[in-house]
Symmetry: D2
Subunit: 345 residues, 4 copies
Amino acid sequence: MASEATQRFAPSSPRVAVAGATGFAGALAAELLWRHPGFELAGVTGRSEVGRTLQELYPRYRVPLRIAELDPEELEGLDAAVVAYPHAAAAPTVGMLLERGLRVVDLSADFRLRSLASYERWYGTHPRPELLELAAYGLPELHREAIAGAAIVANPGCYPTASVLALAPLARAGLIADVVIDAKQGISGAGRAFDETTHLSMAGENILPYKVAAHRHTPEIEEQLAYLDPSRPDVRVQFQATLVPLDQGEQAACYVTPTRPVGEQELAELYSGAYDAEPFVEVAASPPGTREVLATNFCRIFAAADSHTGKVLVFSSIDNLWKGTSSQAVQNLNLMFGKPETDGL
Amino acid sequence: MASEATQRFAPSSPRVAVAGATGFAGALAAELLWRHPGFELAGVTGRSEVGRTLQELYPRYRVPLRIAELDPEELEGLDAAVVAYPHAAAAPTVGMLLERGLRVVDLSADFRLRSLASYERWYGTHPRPELLELAAYGLPELHREAIAGAAIVANPGCYPTASVLALAPLARAGLIADVVIDAKQGISGAGRAFDETTHLSMAGENILPYKVAAHRHTPEIEEQLAYLDPSRPDVRVQFQATLVPLDQGEQAACYVTPTRPVGEQELAELYSGAYDAEPFVEVAASPPGTREVLATNFCRIFAAADSHTGKVLVFSSIDNLWKGTSSQAVQNLNLMFGKPETDGL
Amino acid sequence: MASEATQRFAPSSPRVAVAGATGFAGALAAELLWRHPGFELAGVTGRSEVGRTLQELYPRYRVPLRIAELDPEELEGLDAAVVAYPHAAAAPTVGMLLERGLRVVDLSADFRLRSLASYERWYGTHPRPELLELAAYGLPELHREAIAGAAIVANPGCYPTASVLALAPLARAGLIADVVIDAKQGISGAGRAFDETTHLSMAGENILPYKVAAHRHTPEIEEQLAYLDPSRPDVRVQFQATLVPLDQGEQAACYVTPTRPVGEQELAELYSGAYDAEPFVEVAASPPGTREVLATNFCRIFAAADSHTGKVLVFSSIDNLWKGTSSQAVQNLNLMFGKPETDGL
Amino acid sequence: MASEATQRFAPSSPRVAVAGATGFAGALAAELLWRHPGFELAGVTGRSEVGRTLQELYPRYRVPLRIAELDPEELEGLDAAVVAYPHAAAAPTVGMLLERGLRVVDLSADFRLRSLASYERWYGTHPRPELLELAAYGLPELHREAIAGAAIVANPGCYPTASVLALAPLARAGLIADVVIDAKQGISGAGRAFDETTHLSMAGENILPYKVAAHRHTPEIEEQLAYLDPSRPDVRVQFQATLVPLDQGEQAACYVTPTRPVGEQELAELYSGAYDAEPFVEVAASPPGTREVLATNFCRIFAAADSHTGKVLVFSSIDNLWKGTSSQAVQNLNLMFGKPETDGL
């Protein structure tokens, strides 16, 4: 086959690189940008597999670009980068890119938390704390305007994406007195890690909770809920994640003790009001299976009041690699460069 | 191969039949009894597949007996039966078997609830309410003595098995102020149903909550918790079940708001005290994946206190077809006939 | 969310309907046409689910059109249809559509075989044999020109697609003396059938050969090989299909006894010559896993000579629902309406 | 729970150790011996995880013994060992054990091939070639008597087990002119390797042929076929293995070109004659899914004549970890120590 060596995109499209394109998240971001009519995928970098094409590594992704090392001298003419590094490794690179005039969507945790103290409690010393003020939290449904103008967009964690979208209408209405979030995720959430949690003969036929009472996504969710309901700055969230044997898919089940009784009618209005105009959030009529959003940028949400307990239940499904990570990065790039938010998605 | 046509069992072993042996639960009960050194599997019945051997239907189960229709005239000499019928269909058959002198382990919901009102709210009219008083709730870890002497043993639902074992030490200590149970289960929990919930191309790559705010296992769990903590007869449990794409395996994640602060040390003592002498409940040192109990009668439990929220988290894993159903039925039969509880398991 | 109620397509695009859009194949064809910039998806029909939107049935497919019954009176202005009916049911509908001026891509077996005798041996009486001469065999890599001008394009079976693409270079060179094809396929190949072959607790952890020595795709493969190598009109193919527990993916392993010794160099040239200019067939450097073509219209092929046995081995991977069925239908529509073959794919 | 610290076995049972108990094969061998009424599991060794119990590593296996390093000084009183090492690493240990008076079932390839030349072509230098003459090939259905008296029993590879059992009746009758074996296997066949072939997000939704035209199990199969049909000492087998996304299960599909026409009746008699008296081989009436033998020591075989091509097709299913490896080792131990062949299985 003649390798599809040229990308089709509109003239004078912004030029975007993906740093760390060999992992699941970076590779999908590159693929989505490659297919995007309004961006030029200008380069893919990695610390391993240098010289191979991305397509050799992920044949179903049709990206013929060769993986290169990230060279600060070769960033001339680039407009933006998606950085797919682990936390702590990301911030210095983000800083370097900013200094060379690029705008950045960072997939790591380094710029997600507004509170430096919170970051340091969960992740250790922050490599570039002075950059925090340049970052917007990249959940478009909550921070669309800040994202459009930000130098750094901190792409949310996949769990916070599903959880905060699920809870935002209740939080904004001051309705959350207490909340338990039980989130399930497929194995791609562990990335290319090769260990007991990803081996098919160990992860298959298994349901495995992890990081009990200590998940790093908790403060991120709490910060966003406090932002939505300033009257409860110290909201505490019970968050628990569990691995289940599928590839891509994530669901947050939220059990909310409301501050006052909430009925089905009010719930329906809250969610409809919050999301009817959103292009990528759908209010479902029944609990959404994750398969309903597989390989899409959609989040589907179902909320119900339980008359037996008085609690409010909200189920939120996303594809952890798409809306949970890489397609949300593209949604953010669309906003940052003034493109229609749904382009290429 | 010469069909393994004869079962090895001790002389004068009780003779047990399985009624409804063509479904997943009945077939496994038959297989476990066939392998059991202390029971004679005297017959297998079904409303379909009559005349075929059970092995033809489930080749990996080595039971060469032919499926017959249940004939009340041919029960002479039987000591017990496992009844694997749907609810409402079970009770009349259980009654008939009792009248012919058999003791019964019933896998349906018909005799699980002490409260007739509760049964009728969830399941409709009870076909044989007068038999309720003859039934013991077949969770050996809670009702060992009652089971030993009962005419009917109501085998618990799989969700209540995992949930009640997880919560019993806390309930008995009066520590449960509020509880959310998020339970995940593999597809075998849906039985031989052929529909969207079991089709591999629909159930695979899916995480699907079902029966939101309306699961029939809720009253069963509440009855047992009220039994364990008589001071809270009206305990309300938030129970939610979710299907995940595996075959056999079930996990209950319980999020407990305690009536007073509980620390790790007290938790460890509560669970150790409750289960150290139990042959089939293990207190684990980390969250137990369901694979750890695959194809066993074990329940593995991990409890932790979350200092961030003050909640107590308990994770309980079973194999829904084994401890959740069929091997628990054998454990109950062992108790009913004075055999060591672990025999054949 | 505001339902994405309008499709974007170029003005005066051909208008295409999908008949039988409720099954896996028809639904995906509709989704691909909906996303296609050069066709208007003008309607979706089904014999069940009438009145629901396709999106309600397959939420991850974003097609908001409502399923209607196929009404011959409402075909005015349509240019083409994809017919996704079972064999024998398809031909009468295809005939009716032709009479109303539509061109048709038929996904059934009704027009795949040139030989009526062969059809009737495998499928029974043909409902509209007089239409056979209007049909082209819809494997673009072999019949591009015929497809472009045909009234009916018989979309190949998924197994013949993978098998014939694998074997074509050898057949054309007269190199196939004998061939065994061992094809594996995921469960989506069984469609929305609800039975033992699709239940996750039965199809999972299973490897299941089916239709031993009697697969209907055999004559289709043999006809194409005879077309490619007219010197062997009576070629006999040993074809066997096996279900394996995944959703989408298919692989044909072909074991060829060559008519004369064939070396690696000659093999490489044969395959490179056949496929270097093909947009959707790739010659791989190692055996292609089906995941490499998941959700794409690509076929990836690897050929090797075994010096130990003298045989030639060819492995060919496709996504059975895409290149095996629905995206190949779109590729055919592109050819039929003079569009670039890769548009929308 | 009180750890089930004592094993039940008959007095003066042979004492057996498992060397290399931390991998999938060794761990299952240990579990099966632990449950066995006629052997004492006297120790489990490993080169990693020393000091942990086997149960900690594999909780569903109930073996409370601690993993120790293999100490030649502590073998006093042992009767036998199962050695689960990689090839080349196994032979020196086997030799050492023999010198201390133990009999050995070796799970590696080191003693499977009678021909040293063949071994060295596929595996390199043999560490202890002088021991080859002490070894019997551990396929009980073919070498029962030799196994009973051997010092070393070379447990067959899983592919040869399925393949040779499938082909033996035809080979013995001199009917195999040519044969293609297409074998599929679940991911547990790769063992505890952590890499691209076992990661659920890579191995899932995949069908992956490997070691094309170069599988080490080929000479093992050929040696056994030559043994069965001495008239064809140079038989060449086309063997190909493919990974499919399940855990345990393996199937060999054998496509035989017979030396003369063979009909269904003759086939039925050949297979019935060969296996009716075998306790662990079953002739099935239809192609056996691997699920039919999951977690059993059975091999199920279906043979059919294809009148279209004249070929004979044989499908053979085993559980690769059981009959393919660890339970077959127990079957061999039963034979070596004069126990009923089915004990503990």
